[in-house]
Symmetry: C2
Subunit: 362 residues, 2 copies
Amino acid sequence: MSISERKKKILAIVVEEYIRSAEPVGSKAIAQSGQLKCSSATIRNELAELVALGYLEQPHTSAGRVPTPMGYRMYVNELMDRQRLGIQETEELNRRLNQKLQELDATIGAVSRLASQLTNYPALALTSSTSVTLKRIDLIYVDANTFIIVLMLSGNTVKSKLVKLPVSVDQEMMQRLSTLFNASFLGISASEMNPVLIHATEQAADDSLGLTAVIAAFAIETLTEANAPSASVFGENRLLNQPEFRDPDKAHRLMSYLAGGGYILPPSDTPGQTGEVKVFIGPENVAEELKDSSVIIASYDAGDNTRGLIGVVGPTRMDYSAVAAKLSVLAAGLSRRLGAGEAPPEGMHNKLIIKEPEDKHE
Amino acid sequence: MSISERKKKILAIVVEEYIRSAEPVGSKAIAQSGQLKCSSATIRNELAELVALGYLEQPHTSAGRVPTPMGYRMYVNELMDRQRLGIQETEELNRRLNQKLQELDATIGAVSRLASQLTNYPALALTSSTSVTLKRIDLIYVDANTFIIVLMLSGNTVKSKLVKLPVSVDQEMMQRLSTLFNASFLGISASEMNPVLIHATEQAADDSLGLTAVIAAFAIETLTEANAPSASVFGENRLLNQPEFRDPDKAHRLMSYLAGGGYILPPSDTPGQTGEVKVFIGPENVAEELKDSSVIIASYDAGDNTRGLIGVVGPTRMDYSAVAAKLSVLAAGLSRRLGAGEAPPEGMHNKLIIKEPEDKHE
DNA sequence: GTTGGCACTCTCTTTCTTCGAGTGCTAATA
DNA sequence: TATTAGCACTCGAAGAAAGAGAGTGCCAAC
């Protein structure tokens, strides 16, 4: 069922005005906005119909109108003009991105912090569960009681750890272990590094000191950690800027939910390609705590077939357009730097595809 | 100037009752608490004097009394019974600590998170500015375009990074560089790794590819980062539990201050020995944003002459006794695991020394 | 020095009133 | 038929007034 152009126009004005002011929008204000050439009375009629259709609602009888989640959805899908950042802004953003990029872990933290700063909403960084494996193991002999384990993972990240032992080892033993590990432990998952394999390696290395176990434990732990979906959140406090979170209890609920880190995407909503931005409005979110908030998520290529997500949480009255644009650029920038190889074509970083979640019942 | 025992007793009751209830404490309530055998009228007289002395104040004429910062200070210094955690509780805490300990960086994050959980206040982890130097540099050759830099720092932490080059290098060159770096770059500070030294090394290594610069840059960056005092905060949202932060603006102010990460200790307040807990009450804090909050900080030995701090922030109406006890145990546990060597004597972990900040004017 | 008694003060809560924005409806108009 | 002007009505927000209650300070008695 489609609605008239004028209704769409009015809906867009209501949404934008409400996003700006956080106050219910009245017919008069719409008429005065000068974007329509009809009187407030006409607009009142239209508004009444938009309410009947479910796009708007009234907090109470004699208040202005406020968009419903369905209204926002319509706005996001069809009405809003996809903002593109100006060249200047894009460059500024990329510049800030450049400063931050060192190592994957630190990066995603830094980027979500950046996202939060830019949008003035709490931001979350998610890495979806992946299958990182070992690419290489090195053991560096420091002294008789000390060595360093260096693991290179398939994501091209490197993890290292210093190990101090109560017993002494010699370099030759380390050499042997290193060779064995590189032979047996590469390319397999953490769960495949089972006691049997470890024991076999131990035997083969003639290791009576338990080094094998130490190294394997570190490998398993590192892989498990790298594979686990992780979430980090920054800028929770920015929620308190929003009038809808002036109630400390409400704010607290959402903030602890976010701090808990268990953000779940609506089912079957695997993130799409880089630059694509998904918007989850209010009840579209699965988590109870998010039912009256919105989440905007962009996906980026973290290299090695891994995708990362970076998102922003806010009230349903969010500046979807601006946030989506910013996230899109951030994600593109991240992809370009972390991604597998093929640099996206120039200009791509500013493209913006907005998808709605798959299951949009409700 | 000393005050009578009874006044002290009353002050203690007021503080504790206020900590518990967050409401001004009246004379009647004190009398009824049964800890004193005199009437409310007598207590009223005493209260009036305590107000005159500056230990208590009245929000308004006909309200109960509330401790002033000076009152809290007196309480912390002399009145409160130093809580000791029960054996059971201590063990529980240590158990949780055990799970968390992997690597220094991750650890302090995890521990401050733990501190926040245990105390239900926001927690901060600080590493004071130290002078970490390089202890060792290794270069691992991966393939012609790729190598790994492994730095071992004086704190016995290890940092590594994968470097991809647009040009190819050979193993022999890496060997040469590695030797040179280990000869010239160990034990010096980041600022001493100046262009002159780098250039000299570059020359000596006959490096026309700029590898030297890359490695040096990573070394400098790593050291700078390791040396910089860093702060991380967890559980900001717990502030919203506290009635004194029901005002979202107030909460927001403090939370953004904390998120900013620039927590500064009162001047000359270098943290003391492990197990020692310092309490900064309201205006004793230097930061404007903390003038009506309290900070409790424990210091731990992070190994290699480095001290770390772990602290908790809350309203002045804080459960000093309980928080101090918990932090003390946490700090002791951390020291035991990270610290240089000499394990603290058994039982030490439960000892609690509370120091006031040096400059206590105001 | 301690106690009971009592008038007083001040905030918090509740209730009531007022104000105004915005609506829905009707009748007139293009 | 769509639009517009006009107007009575509704409902929340904000302010004022009144009442309740907790706690005090002080006085006189013990």
